[in-house]
Each structure stands twice: as structure tokens, then as C-alpha cells.
Amino acid sequence: MVTTTPLEEQLLELAGSVPDPELPVLTLRELGVVRAVRAHGTDSVEVDLTPTYTGCPAVEVMSLDIERVLREHGVREVTVRTVLAPAWSTDDITDEGRRKLREFGIAPPRTVAASGPVRVELGPTRTRDGDSADGTREPILCPHCGSPETELLSRFSSTACKALRRCLACREPFDHFKEL
């Protein structure tokens, strides 16, 4: 573990306070995508940012926002580096981030179990994900009414990181931040 200076911690907090461009209720720190900040002297800073998905188009906006915020706080030179490893996982979203997602109407991701492809059987599985068919995983709760009875409408939704579901109790459709 590299030791961070008090200045770097302060800058990390600043960079992490930037709202996510697509989910503005979350900060980048809550999303878990700001990995590290390194200060070289007092006016040159390097920020490590990791993308959620490789092709996530929000990364460029995130970089610009981080640069802007740090510059506003007197840092003259800001470099944002995109780092791929270790790969981001939805487990990196903080508890506070999960709470905010739910409040915003998005079902937060569940904890990721084993990696690898998930077997999904067709047929009588309308209200179950393949991974919950064996009953070992918690259900996805409706962010509006809290019901565990929800069905998958589409495995892909408004952004690469979400799936579209519908609540069978209150009938509201909602986005689910899918586990990665």
C-alpha cells in the first residue's frame, strides 16, 4: 500500500466529490471509480480513474469534471489516467451509494458471487434471474415499494450498466444496476 499524504487525501476527497454524469445522485467516490490521487509538488496532480465498463462513454466527462474541480481548487496541472486493473466491480459501490441509488429509483446491485457466465433457463423463470433460480441469492427488490416480486423486462437498459425490470406488486418499471 502506498502511503498518501494529507494533501493527497484532501485532493482524493475533492476528486471523489464529483457527481457521476449519468447518475448525478452518486459521487465518483460512492461509485468507486476514483482509485488514487498522486501529488507531485503542490500544483501537479495525477488521478487514477477506472471505467465501469470498457466502453463507458461517461469516462471522458468524468475526467473533464475531475480536472475542472481540481483546477478550481488551485491545482495547476491535472492528469487523469484511465486504469483497467484491477477491474471495477459493482462491489466497489459504497453502502451510501447503494442507498442513494435506491432512493433515486434504481435497484442497487447485489453482492457479486462467483464470476463467470450465469446459466439462465428459459420457461417458468419470468420473475427469477437464472442466478436466483437455485434460491441462493437475495431477490432484487423494487426500489419503489420494496416488493421482492419483480420480473426482468430486458437484460439491457438505458445504459450498459443497467437492466430493465418491472415490479409485479406496484407495476412500476425500474432500472436495476446489474452485478458486474
Partner: protein, 245 residues
């Protein structure tokens, strides 16, 4: 801005091969925008295309300037598999192409991610994305294969038609070390046989090398539809060099 290993440690040929696979398939999937059978599927195919485009950008940046490589190379300079350049055809053809490629990509990136080569960081992300693409393709294969007589017939036609392009996937790629290609092929065959079996489809038994020597795409020899695809993909950039939004 993307972090890449120092240029002299990157096997450029391998970065091009993997990057071109992702770029070309991404473009082919993007062709469904506005034409997919249902809105959800349009979103799904666009999302998969976006994942692949992200992978392509990282890989091509390892080999050089991503825009120059994507938009200014001639057909013969592309190193992608012939499988990924095949036209979408009917929806069954697109799904068969997705099934064959996503299973291959998932198995390959899983191996690359566990090594310590230059592709390990990207593979660690791509393997998760490919797992989801593979699941999407498997579900559609089951649904179409074990669906109506019409969907079954079309899906069988599609898996048969694209079968000859699959042998090329297991030709060793120069610069990728530590991958047991024959084992990769056995694993791939095992998955494909399992999925096609569950989808009540027959595993094609024809040769998997086609009329060309296997590995032709990796050597820059492409099928006829690829030229037209490239013309469309590169037209804007070539007509307006340096244009920005």
C-alpha cells in the same frame, strides 16, 4: 489518457488482431440500430456493440493511433477474423455469430486475464462483459432453436452457414503467449455442442475452414462483404479528415 504498457512490450500484431475483432463486430452490431425486431433487442445489441468498441479503443491504442488504425487502414491491413465481418443476415445469423464469437472471446479473455501479459488488465474487464454477451447469445439460441418451426429452421441455417468461419478462431495469434489453443478449441466445442443440443439444433459437421486457408482474416484476407462494410465505416472520416463534433 488510457494507460498502456510501453510500446516496446506490446505485441502489436496481437493487439491489432484482438482490437480488429472487437471493432468490426461492434460496427456490424451497430448496423441493427433502427432495425432490430424489438426495442429491447435494439438496446441490447447497441450495448454489446458499445462494450466491444470500448475494448477496441484500448487494444488499438496499444498498437498505435486508434483513429488512424480504424479509419485509414485498407482492407488488407485489418487482422480480424472473417467470422466477425460477416453481415448480420437475418436475426438468427446475428445470434449465431454472437454465440460463436462471444463463447470464444469469453474463453480467450478468461485465459489472458489469469496471466500477466500485456493484455491481462483489459482481459480482466472484457471477460466480464463477454460473459454477459455469451449469456445473451445462449438465451436467444435456445429461444430460436427450440421455438417455432420457422425460427428453428432459420437458426439451424445460420449455425450451419457460419460454421466454416469458426476454425480460424483457434489458429494461434502471434504475440499471445501462454494460451493452449487446442484446449481452447476443445472447450469452445464443448460449450457450443451443449448449447446447440439444448436448443434442439444439430451441430454442423462440415469442415470449419471454408474455401480459404484457415486464419486468412488474421493474415489480411477478407470476404467480399467486408469491403463494403469498411467503406461505410470509414467514409465520414476519409471525406472530412480531422473533423470533430
Amino acid at each position: 489518457m488510457t494507460t498502456t504498457p510501453a510500446a516496446d512490450t506490446v505485441p502489436t500484431a496481437a493487439a491489432l488482431a484482438l482490437g480488429d475483432d472487437a471493432l468490426v463486430l461492434s460496427h456490424r452490431l451497430g448496423e441493427w440500430a433502427g432495425h432490430a425486431p424489438v426495442l429491447e433487442e435494439e438496446v441490447a445489441l447497441a450495448n454489446i456493440a458499445l462494450d466491444l468498441l470500448g475494448q477496441a479503443r484500448v487494444l488499438l491504442s496499444m498498437a498505435g493511433d486508434e483513429d488512424e488504425l480504424a479509419f485509414l487502414r485498407e482492407e488488407r491491413a485489418f487482422r480480424n477474423l472473417q467470422l466477425v465481418e460477416q453481415p448480420g443476415g437475418d436475426f438468427a445469423h446475428t445470434i449465431a455469430r454472437q454465440l460463436y464469437f462471444s463463447v470464444y472471446q469469453h474463453l480467450l479473455h478468461d485465459r489472458l486475464a489469469s496471466g500477466d501479459g500485456p493484455f491481462a488488465p483489459l482481459a480482466g474487464k472484457a471477460v466480464k462483459e463477454a460473459a454477459y454477451h455469451r449469456d445473451h447469445a445462449e438465451q436467444w439460441t435456445l429461444r430460436l432453436g427450440d421455438g417455432t418451426d420457422e425460427s428453428h429452421a432459420r437458426m439451424q441455417r445460420a449455425v450451419d452457414a457460419l460454421w466454416r468461419f469458426t476454425g480460424e478462431m483457434f489458429q494461434p495469434v502471434e504475440g499471445i503467449d501462454g494460451v493452449d489453443w487446442p484446449a481452447l478449441e476443445r472447450d469452445w466445442l464443448g460449450v457450443i455442442e451443449d448449447v446447440l443440443g439444448r436448443a434442439t439444433l444439430t451441430v454442423p459437421d462440415g469442415p470449419r475452414t471454408g474455401a480459404w486457408r484457415a486464419g486468412a482474416g488474421r493474415q489480411g484476407l477478407h470476404t467480399e462483404p467486408f469491403g463494403r462494410m469498411l467503406a461505410e465505416m470509414q467514409h465520414l472520416h476519409r471525406s472530412h479528415p480531422g473533423a470533430t463534433w
